[in-house]
Symmetry: C2
Subunit: 424 residues, 2 copies
């Protein structure tokens, strides 16, 4: 019988602290700027859109942040997630590399997004907030936050980019199942939404517009805060449960990774996966980190490193990052979750400093990787996650032609069962 190694981790080994890479970096990050004054933004200025606990986590310099017991009680529903040896993929590729993937698709809403959604919902509820407002593109984030909201008794309002709202009704149904309220963006319920609709009554929407609508709503409705699913430091912080578990699981089977791979949209799943390994890299361990992005939205591979807005309308603080420009409109590719003009400031800085690499993939190469993976490994990946698979395959083939025994590990950030139309 063929071998199939799945590294599960006992529940009692659950990760109990988030890891803050900023405590270990030998350089400082460029701080976010106030869009009006262009000065370093103050925590007070952020408090209109984020609750105090979240702001505290955004700026903390502590190496470890304790995960609250109530969040752990929710993590335990699906964590630790499995680490799987991709033995069937190795066999198919005839590669000498050993390939593993950490599988975040087992989460209740099917992606890694749930890790930060639960944390954000918990802290907002503890700080007395009654409603979270957010935007969603492909819908993974909106589903995750709706689920988290229902767990901690918060109302959740989601602005969903119209084109996805219409193309991915299943995601909308999932949000509704978890009591989230979803509306198409641009909508009539905000001023900025109305303006876009005046321009074009059938406006397809964009992530940038949806963010603007969410923030406007927060500013106008009482006891509401904004919630973001990627990019910011606290979001990457929450995602480090992935990389920390991964580290333990690899050491349980005596493996030392030589290449760590994740797909890159805003940077949260990539960051969550690799950040806990940064100290080893700084200590001189030979390990490469590769962020995989679509050729059609090449933020890290072709963007400029400079201050830019996180949204299209210029409501957010200015962030130092690789950016294609806030007005960049990505061509209509399927990996909705990777269609973002910018990147997480932490990831951008690591790239700038040469600690990580970035690589880009055509839609064709990505789709082919997804199809092969579905057939041999029996898991249909999210189109976003398929970029990480494509990256792993590219490295595994290189290892074969160069005769090197790499240990390649990638994060399979979500399943693609609600994105099957993209494969049609």
């Amino acid at each position: 019988m063929k071998e199939r190694i799945i590294v599960t981790m006992p529940k009692k080994e659950m990760i109990k602290e988030w890891y803050n890479v900023k405590a270990d970096l030998p350089f400082a990050l460029d701080p976010p700027l106030n869009p009006q004054t262009k000065e370093v933004i103050t925590p007070e200025a952020l408090s209109a859109i984020f609750c105090p606990s979240i702001i505290e986590q955004e700026v903390t310099t502590e190496r470890y942040v304790k995960i609250p017991e109530d969040v752990l009680d929710e993590y335990v529903v699906f964590r630790p997630t499995p680490l799987i040896r991709a033995s069937f993929l190795e066999e198919y590729l005839e590669t000498p590399a050993r390939i593993y993937y950490k599988y975040e698709g087992v989460s209740p809403t099917g992606s890694h997004k749930t890790n930060t959604a639960l944390a954000q919902a918990y802290f907002n509820a503890r700080d007395g907030i009654k409603q979270l407002v957010t935007e969603t593109g492909a819908g993974q984030w909106g589903s995750a936050l709706s689920y988290a909201g229902t767990k901690f008794g918060l109302k959740v309002k989601v602005f969903m980019v119209r084109i996805s709202y219409n193309q991915k009704p299943m995601r909308k149904y999932m949000m509704q199942l978890f009591d989230g309220s979803v509306q198409e963006s641009p909508s009539q319920s905000t001023k900025c939404g109305q303006e876009y609709l005046k321009e074009d009554p059938k406006h397809p929407g964009s992530l940038g517009i949806a963010i603007s609508e969410a923030i406007e709503t927060v500013l106008n409705e009482g006891n509401s805060r904004y919630s973001l699913g990627s990019v910011l430091d606290h979001v990457l912080l929450h995602q480090t449960v992935i990389g920390q578990e991964l580290k333990k699981q690899l050491s349980m089977i005596g493996e030392i990774p030589t290449i760590l791979i994740g797909c890159h949209g805003g940077g949260s799943n990539f960051g969550g996966t690799i950040l806990p390994f940064i100290p080893e890299k700084l200590d001189g361990q030979e390990i490469r980190f590769i962020a995989c992005e679509p050729e059609s939205c090449p933020t890290l591979t072709k963007g400029e490193y400079r201050y830019d807005f996180g949204d299209s309308s210029g409501f957010t603080p200015l962030l130092m990052m690789y950016t294609l420009g806030k007005d960049f409109v990505p061509p209509k590719i399927h990996a909705g979750g990777l269609r973002y003009h910018g990147s997480a400031p932490i990831i951008a800085k690591l790239l700038k400093e040469g600690l990580i690499e970035a690589d880009s993939f055509s839609q064709e190469e990505t789709f082919k990787a997804a199809k092969v993976f579905s057939k041999v490994e029996g898991i249909i990946p999210a189109p976003e996650s398929a970029h990480a698979i494509a990256g792993a395959i590219r490295e595994a083939i290189k290892a074969k032609s160069e005769g090197r025994r790499e240990v390649i590990v990638f994060n399979l950030s979500g399943h693609g069962l609600l994105d099957l139309s993209a494969y049609a």
Copy 2:
């Protein structure tokens, strides 16, 4: 931190034989009859639609049938499936019962159907067949067979009930991803399909019509055989991997189940779950088996026990079963996989002999169970499987009011991620 018990099973403990309950029953089953002659059907008469290995398994009297190595190599992709303690559901219900579920949704196509699909594809390929033809309602079976076909190099042709074809495009995309060819039924490609379309060019289709189209295609196309996803003895045989694993997993944690529950459509997931426990029941162990079905398609609870056809057009052998009549048209309920007029002859006989029970559930009770389960356990169940959850909840509440410490185990036969529209 809350407790979350997931009983995984080492791969080396994989079940290596299917269990044939017929070897242990103290009574004989009534044999299938030839529809023309009304005499007991001969294996030869079946050979036009089934390959020799499958017929052999349909009629075998051996207690155990060895699972071929090649099938085990495919089972190992997703088996053993986990057994999960529903501790959050117990807490929600405040029940003294301990509740567990076996989770088959981890299979590559999201349901237990893959267990028999892989076996059927393997045996047909080994017997030199080049194409499998089948029908599908909600699409789980068609996806599973397409996946299995691509594994063993067989072409797979699926007739999908038109109403589902249109309502569940994701299932169609999944079949296509696995190289299955799918067409709406009734179709123009068969004579019987043409007749139904003549009656009504927009005929919504039915499982019975799709079966007839599949069989007609098999009889007309060379080197093709028919494949059925439920009802027949060999299908239940293949599904006994579920119950056998379950038995091992329960004994690993020292639990003795008092109630075993499965949803019932054609009987394969229910049978696969409970049949391996029949010997204990015959030995006098106190254990109840409950088949859960929709009130709107009450085959076991309101059907007649008699010979009937497996399809609507009367092409199949006559089977002794509980039936609502081959012309029964179930109201348009969402659990597409449970909309079948008949039942597996093995299950029917067990019910007739009083070894198992059946219970029915309204759509409202079922949906409520699904929603609660999604929220507290973090898994969105298939609408079919939600009937088993409703059954478990009903028994857990009874245990509470009667103060009994039951050990309730149910099979969660699949996830509902492709059926989210049904929850809308």
